[in-house]
Amino acid sequence: MRPRLFFHLQLAFTLGVCAFLVVPVMLSVLAGLTENFFIGLRSGLTVRWLAQVWGLYAETVVLSLQIALWCLAVTLVLGLPAAYSLYRLGGRVARAIEETIVLPVAVPGLATALALIITYGGVKDFRASWVFILVGHVLYTLPFMVRSVMAVLYSINVAELEESAASLGAGFWRRLFTVVLPNCKPGILAGALMVVTLSVGEFNLTWMLHTPMTKTLPVGLADSYASMRLEVASAYTVVFFIMIVPLLIAMQMVSSQDRSRIKRRAPEDSGVPAVSGSKS
C-alpha cells in the first residue's frame, strides 16, 4: 500500500510542476483569443486581436525568420569546417578553441551586445542594419552547431571511416565531401534546429542591437507588453508560440532519436555530451 501512496504523491507533485509550466501558456492563448480578458470567456472568442497583431507586427515575424535563416547559413559555413577541424586536431589546442567559442553563451548577452556597440557602434550603416543583429545571433548560436556536429563525429568515430577511405586512395577533400559530410547529417540537423530556435527567440542581445527599423519578434513582444492592451500582447505571444513550439517539438524528436542511435552504435559514453541551452 505504501509504495502506491508514494507513487501517487510523486505523480501529483510532477503534475503540479507541469501545471506551473503549462497554465501560463494556456492563459496567454486564452487571453489572445477572448474579446475582453477582464470579463472573461463570457465576452466571446475572437480572432480580432490576432488580425490586429498581424497588421501591426507582421514585419517583425518576417525579419526574425530572415535573421534565423541567415544565421543558420553562416553557422553552417563557419561551424561545419571548424567542427571537423577541431575533431581531427584534438588535444589541448582544440579544447582551448572550443572553450573560447562557447564564451558568448557563458557570458550574458548584454555584455556581448555592449562590446559590439562600443566597437562597431560608430560604423553607422552597419549599426543600423539587421546584419548587426545577425552578428550577435551568430556568436550566440555558433557553439551549438559546432558541438552538435562534433558530438556526431565522435559518436560514429569518423576517423576510422576516413582511414578506410584513405587506404583506398581517397584524398583529403574527397574524404571530407564523400565520407565526413554525409555522416554528419544527424549532427547538422540537430544543430540547425537549435540555431534557428535560439535565433528566433533571442532577446537579450537583440534588444541592445536593434534599431526602430530593425525589430525582431521578441523585440516587438517587449514593445507590445509595455504599450498594448493585454489581449493584443497575448495574441502576439500566441503568434510567437505558433513559430517556436513546432521547432521545440522537432528538437525533442531529434534528440530522442539521437539518444537511441548513440545507444545502438556506442554503448560507452562518447565523451561529448549534447549541448543544450538557451537564453532567458
Partner: protein
C-alpha cells in the same frame, strides 16, 4: 592517412571561424574591458561593484535571487526527474515533453506569463479574491521574479538531472535496502551522492542563467534592480558607459566561473546563459 600532412588543411578549415570570432567577439570584449578601465576612475572603476551602494545592492540581490532559484529548481527537478526516470506509466512521455518544452522561451515571454499568472488581472489574483476576498498580486515584486526565473530554470535543470539519473545503478540502492536502510537513508546516502555530478552541473547552469537573465526582469519592470537591469539602466538612461562596461565584465566573469566550475566538478559540458 597521416595526421601531420593534414595540419595545414585543417588549419584552413578552422580559420574563417577564428577570424570572425576574433573580429566580432574577442576584440570587442577586450575593448569593453579597456573602456571600463579608462574612465575617470581608471582601473578602480572595477571596484564600483563594492564601492557604489547601488551597484553593491544590485549585485547582492542578484546573487541571493539566483542562489534561491537554484536551490528551488534543484529540489523540484530532483523529485520530478527521479520520478520520471524510475517509473513507466502511460502519459510519461507527454509529461517529459511538457517539462522540457519551455527550454527556448525568451525571458520577455516568461515575464509576460508571470503577469498573466500573478499580475493585476492574473489568475492567482482571481482565485485568491474568490477565496479570501483579498486579491494577491506579486508579479512585480521579488516573488514574481523568483517564479519567472524558476519557470525558465526547471526545464534546463530537469534535462540534465534526468540524464544523470538514468546512469544510476539500481543495484546499489537494492543493496542498501536489503541491508535494512530506511527509504530516507537510501536517498540521502546512496541516491544523492550518486546524483551529485548532475546536481552540480545543472546547479551551475541554473545559477549562471539566473545571474545573466535580463528579459524577465525587463518585462516585469520591478523596482528590484537585478544586475543586468542595472547595467542596462547605466547604459541607456545614465549614458554611463564606464559603469555599464565594468559591471558587464564582472557579471560575465561570475557566470563564466559558475559554468566553468560546474563543468570541472561534474565533468559534463552543458552550458547555457543569457
Amino acid at each position: 592517412m597521416d595526421q601531420r600532412d593534414d595540419y595545414p588543411r585543417l588549419f584552413v578549415l578552422v580559420l574563417p571561424l577564428g577570424i570572425a570570432f576574433a573580429a566580432f567577439f574577442l576584440v570587442p570584449m577586450a575593448q569593453l574591458a579597456v573602456v571600463g578601465a579608462t574612465g575617470e576612475a581608471g582601473l578602480s572603476a572595477y571596484l564600483s561593484i563594492i564601492n557604489t551602494p547601488r551597484h553593491f545592492e544590485s549585485m547582492v540581490a542578484t546573487l541571493v535571487l539566483s542562489a534561491a532559484v537554484t536551490v528551488a529548481a534543484l529540489a523540484i527537478s530532483t523529485v520530478a526527474g527521479l520520478f520520471l526516470v524510475r517509473n513507466r506509466f502511460p502519459g510519461r512521455e507527454t509529461l517529459i515533453a511538457v517539462l522540457t518544452l519551455p527550454l527556448a522561451f525568451p525571458g520577455v515571454v516568461i515575464g509576460f506569463m508571470m503577469i498573466l499568472l500573478a499580475g493585476r488581472q492574473g489568475l492567482i489574483g482571481d482565485i485568491t479574491k474568490a477565496l479570501t476576498g483579498e486579491k494577491l498580486v506579486f508579479a512585480y515584486s521579488m516573488g514574481g521574479l523568483f517564479l519567472g526565473y524558476l519557470y525558465f530554470s526547471i526545464p534546463r535543470v530537469i534535462l540534465t538531472l534526468m540524464a544523470a539519473a538514468e546512469k544510476l545503478d539500481p543495484a546499489l540502492e537494492e543493496a542498501a535496502r536489503s541491508l535494512g536502510a530506511p527509504a530516507w537513508r537510501v536517498v540521502l546516502d546512496v541516491v544523492l551522492p550518486a546524483l551529485s555530478p548532475g546536481l552540480i552541473a545543472s546547479g551551475g547552469i541554473c545559477f549562471a542563467t539566473s545571474m545573466g537573465a535580463f528579459g524577465t526582469a525587463f518585462t516585469l519592470a520591478t523596482n528590484i534592480d537585478v544586475l543586468p537591469m542595472t547595467i542596462y539602466t547605466e547604459f541607456t538612461l545614465n549614458a554611463n558607459i564606464v559603469s555599464a562596461a565594468t559591471l558587464s565584465i564582472v557579471l560575465g566573469l561570475v557566470t563564466w566561473v559558475a559554468l566553468f566550475a560546474a563543468r570541472t566538478f561534474a565533468g559534463s559540458s552543458v552550458a547555457a546563459s543569457g
